[in-house]
């Protein structure tokens, strides 16, 4: 206790400089004078008394030294002194400092930004009781992403029949809509045991409990702390107030009564979705409840392992699955999986961005490493220039460790400034990344939201990264300072440098080239992958198409829909610049899809091989509008409305069901329909729901307008957004004021479907470029330094008859040798990098040699440019001046 007080006071004194030296000195002098006076009283002469007093009590200077040590914290004072000195040194070399700071800011900022996204998505526990025991359930239908989506009946069956979970609970986000145009309320339906299972307590009122699930229970709701603060201004009267929640799938709004506010830390267990309100199952209309859509999660009983739980769940799931397989044998391949949910329930956000973000995390780690090597070599070169300064200090009695401490303090100072700037940059960066990530979500309802707080975890991460970086790049000049021998450094003006240091400097450039090659290869791979997805393999032309999604629910039957089509399409076609117009139920790259089983004439398959085919409802001109070729037969025409049972199929379907035979004129039957369809044409394969997957077999059914909703697509010769206003006006005139649901372009829709790939491509490209730039700076720095050091040698060579070309070749050769060595070291790393990328990004196209080769060419060009400048300067050396300069 008292010792702690002592240290606090000493810490305080270190910064406050109290008590003053003068005052302390006065006290000591008084002591001496009084001692001397006493001695005089005993009969000693005045001069002798002063001498004796000084011998007995010690010198003032020595005592002052010891008092100062006791007053403050000497080591901290030393550190502050080092820092002040370091600041001076950094200011003295502004260019080096600026380049190093920029590099550090970028590297630390990028690491912080990516980490602040990766952490909540993949690593951070949800703030509930004992999250390590939480598990979630998923199943994966062939070709679909994993789903956590179950019926209420199944939930009840598992809840009552299992022996492995202490709590099993369900939740379902509603697709709410808002009349006012602002973000609609984010509402989540939860089973009554939700809050108890998670250990979430009310901040006010009560949370939901199992009694809220009982038939006839009042529709109760718990609002989030945030919503309570923002919507109710934290008013206690929130309890008992009513909220109306309108889901797009049910006609009438649900009325719920607020019974409580959840505790502040809790914002749901689905990452990227932050509910404003949790409502009880009893609030949901029966029709909707039976539809299911419940995400299930559970808490493992103590001492039950996740494998035991998985085994039991598979047994419990079998009857449900077998029932489904009666109609669709594909279900036999489906197994239920139980996975940990300590970081929250999996969402498409995890599935889409988890891999790319981890890959980016690795890349920015590489950038940081590269930055450290780069700055280290920069400081090392400057350290050589400071050798004399160091030598003087060592000669004057500074200990080697004292000098190493000075150098490391400078590195830490540099890194700390870079770290602070990096955090600021990371805030912008992370927000921007968030916006890119969220730009792909087109599902109705509240937009997802990922909290990216600047919290203790992120700050801790940044501090660790910063200190590691400082140690890494500070170590090189520190070692150089430690082994520096003062005598030779003082004797000469530093023309020659030890061989070991030259080899070390070369090694650093080789390392930079190697890391940069790996970064460039991965970035090249991601850019090529995006280009492949977006341009080469679509099967339709994404440019020049405007998509207007309209609400057709006012047309009651097929005749009215056909009339609507006849009315609207000619008017849209009349817009200047529009070449073709088509209507369809679905458009390529839209997430929605329909599928059914199909039987084809003359094709038998075993039941277990049956698989659904995709379906779309299209008008004439659909293929012309989207730029998908018709390979055989003909397109639909308006005359087909008299004979609607005609279809066009795609190549994939033709291959599967009519291998080697002409499908034109043959018949197919769709599930649940008695009458056959006649095939009139075969279209080229075009990507459909998920553009990453190969085109599925598709049946295009003739239907000018679909009931409920239809998308009108306009192929324009001009930029499609320029016809958007006209199209919107015409649709509004014909179909009423709020019939337009959404206007976008096909290119935007495709872009929205490949957001993870775009993110990887943009950031991968950026970090690859940064890496190449850093390596170029490193190479440039080394060569420029070499030229500066070897001016004399170059002068002698030129005096002896070497031409400018010879000198140029010598310098460029030296640079390119280093690059070549970097390639040898870097190639295996680069190949490993591209393989790692393939595990992180789904269905990665391309890989192997091409990206690494492209990266090597790019690196070579940048390196040649970097080597040219110092080489050029070398040719400008004037032999006479160079020789005189010694």
């Amino acid at each position: 206790m008292s010792v702690m007080r002592e240290w606090l006071r000493r810490l305080w004194a270190t910064f406050r400089n109290a008590p003053e030296d003068a005052v302390m000195q006065e006290e000591l002098r008084l002591h001496l004078d009084m001692l001397a006076a006493d001695l005089q009283r005993r009969g000693v002469t005045p001069e002798e008394a002063l001498r004796q007093a000084r011998r007995q009590a010690g010198g003032v200077a020595q005592a002052m030294e010891q008092r100062r040590d006791q007053r403050g914290l000497p080591w901290l004072e030393g550190l502050l002194q080092d820092a002040r000195f370091g600041t001076r040194m950094l200011r003295r070399a502004p260019v080096v400092t600026a380049v190093a700071l920029l590099t550090l800011t970028l590297a630390i900022g990028a690491n912080t930004a990516i980490f602040s996204l990766v952490d909540p998505l993949l690593f951070r526990d949800v703030p509930v009781r004992d999250p390590a025991r939480l598990v979630q359930f998923t199943y994966q239908y062939p070709r679909d992403p994993p789903l956590n989506n179950f019926g209420l009946a199944y939930y009840e069956q598992v809840r009552d029949g299992n022996h492995v979970f202490s709590d099993l609970f369900g939740l379902a986000a509603l697709t709410t809509e808002s009349r006012t145009g602002e973000d609609p309320i984010a509402a989540e339906v939860v089973t009554g045991n939700f809050f108890q299972a998670l250990g979430v307590r009310p901040a006010l009122g009560r949370v939901l409990d199992v009694s809220d699930d009982k038939p006839g229970a009042a529709a109760a709701a718990v609002v989030s702390w945030r919503y309570w603060k923002s919507r109710f201004n934290g008013d206690l009267r929130v309890l008992g107030s009513a909220i109306d929640i309108k889901d797009t799938r049910v006609p009438a709004p649900m009325h719920v009564t607020v019974v409580g506010v959840a505790q502040r830390e809790f914002s749901g267990i689905v990452v990227g979705y932050r509910p404003d309100v949790w409502i009880s199952l009893s609030a949901v209309p029966d029709a909707m409840r039976s539809r299911g859509g419940l995400a299930l999660a559970a808490r493992l009983k103590p001492a039950v392992s996740i494998d035991q739980a998985r085994a039991e769940m598979r047994v419990l799931y079998r009857p449900t699955r077998d029932a489904l397989a009666q109609r669709d044998p594909q279900w036999l391949r489906v197994e239920i999986d139980v996975t940990p949910a300590r970081t929250g329930l999996s969402t498409p956000l995890h599935q889409q961005f988890g891999g790319p973000l981890l890959l980016l995390m690795t890349m920015v780690g590489g950038v940081l490493l590269l930055a450290c090597v780069n700055i280290g070599s920069l400081l090392l070169a400057r350290g050589a220039a400071r050798q004399q300064e160091m030598a003087v200090r060592v000669s004057l009695g500074a200990g080697r460790f004292r000098i190493v401490r000075q150098v490391l303090t400078e590195s830490l100072l540099l890194a700390a400034i870079g770290g602070v700037l990096g955090i600021v940059g990371a805030r912008f960066g992370a927000t921007m990344l968030m916006r890119i990530m969220m730009s792909g979500t087109r599902s109705p309802g509240p937009s997802p939201h990922l909290d990216i707080p600047l919290d203790a975890r992120v700050l801790m991460f940044t501090v660790v990264v910063t200190v590691l970086a400082a140690l890494l790049f500070g170590l090189m000049p520190a070692i150089a300072a430690f082994v520096s021998t003062p005598a030779p450094a003082l004797r000469q003006s530093g023309a020659a440098q030890p061989r070991s240091r030259r080899v070390f400097g070369n090694g650093l450039v080789v390392a930079q080239v190697a890391i940069s090659l790996a970064l460039l290869s991965v970035s090249q791979l991601s850019i090529a992958h995006l280009r492949h997805l977006r341009d080469r393999s679509l099967g339709f032309d994404r440019h020049g198409v405007l998509l207007v999604s309209v609400n057709t629910s006012r047309a009651q039957n097929r005749q009215q829909l056909a009339a609507l089509y006849q009315d609207i399409v000619p008017r849209l076609e009349a817009i200047p610049g529009v070449r073709a117009v088509a209507a369809s139920g679905l458009t390529p790259g839209a997430l929605a899809a329909a599928s059914r089983f199909l039987q084809a004439e003359g094709f038998d398959e075993p039941v277990q091989d049956r698989a659904r085919v995709s379906l779309n409802w299209v008008s004439p001109n659909y293929f012309a509008t989207f730029g998908t070729p018709l390979l055989a037969g003909r397109d639909f025409s308006d005359a087909d409305s008299q004979e609607p049972r005609r279809v066009i199929v795609n190549q994939a379907l033709a291959r599967r069901y009519f291998a080697g035979r002409d499908p034109i004129g043959r018949h197919v039957w769709l599930e649940n329909e008695r009458d056959p369809y006649e095939i009139i044409g075969v279209a080229g394969d075009a990507k459909y729901q998920d553009i990453r997957l190969p085109a599925p077999p598709i049946v295009y059914v003739f239907a000018p307008m679909s009931r409920g909703s239809t998308t009108l697509s306009l192929r324009a010769d001009v930029n499609p957004t320029t016809v958007a206003a006209d199209a919107r006006r015409i649709v509004t005139e014909v179909m009423g004021a709020d019939s337009v649901r959404r206007v976008t372009t096909l290119a935007e829709q495709v872009d929205a479907a490949v957001v993870p790939e775009r993110l990887m491509s943009i950031l991968g490209g950026f970090f690859g470029t940064v890496g190449a730039l850093l390596a170029a700076i490193g190479l440039y720095g080394l060569l420029a330094y070499t030229v500066a050091r070897q001016t004399k040698e170059i002068g002698i060579r030129m005096a002896l008859g070497a031409t400018r070309g010879d000198v140029m070749r010598m310098m460029v050769r030296r640079g390119l040798t280093l690059v070549a060595a970097g390639f040898v070291v870097g190639a295996p790393v680069a190949f490993w990098g591209t393989r790692f990328a393939a595990t992180a990004i789904e269905d990665l196209s391309g890989g192997g040699v091409p990206p690494v080769a492209t990266a090597a060419v790019a690196m070579l060009i940048v390196a040649a440019l970097a080597a040219f400048m110092p080489a050029h300067r070398a040719t400008r050396v004037q032999p006479v001046i160079a020789l005189r300069s010694e």
Binding site: R9, E26, L30, H31, G58, A63, D69, Q70
Partner: protein, 115 residues
């Protein structure tokens, strides 16, 4: 360099605090020289405190809150810092004394045995 303690082993390790505190109890508030003179007198000249030992010691005791220093004027009308023991200091002195007595007893027992 720093914190190396007294250069001369003129004070037994750990006894300086007791000596200062006890002196302040006996004398009341005193300045540094008075403390040193008193100790020299009591020890018949065997304890001659170096300033480099005494003043950092006083400072440490003050930082720990066992004594408090105030500026005053000596009999010769010179400005001096007077140190007085605090309540915490008295408690600490009691603890230290107990410790010291126990050590002395132990040492005596040990040394008489090994004779």
């Amino acid at each position: 360099m720093a914190n190396q303690g007294p250069a001369k082993a003129d004070v037994l390790q750990g006894t300086l605090d007791i000596m200062i505190l006890q002196t302040l109890v006996t004398l009341g508030a005193s300045h540094g020289y008075a403390i040193a003179a008193r100790l020299e007198q009591v020890s018949s000249g065997r304890v001659q405190l170096n300033m480099g030992t005494l003043y950092p010691g006083l400072m440490r005791l003050e930082q720990r809150g066992f004594i408090s220093g105030t500026w005053g004027v000596t009999d010769n009308k010179r400005r001096a810092r007077f140190y007085a023991i605090t309540a915490a200091g008295r408690r600490q002195l009691a603890v230290d004394k107990r410790e010291w007595n126990r050590t002395v007893t132990t040492m005596q027992a040990l040394l008489s045995e090994s004779k």
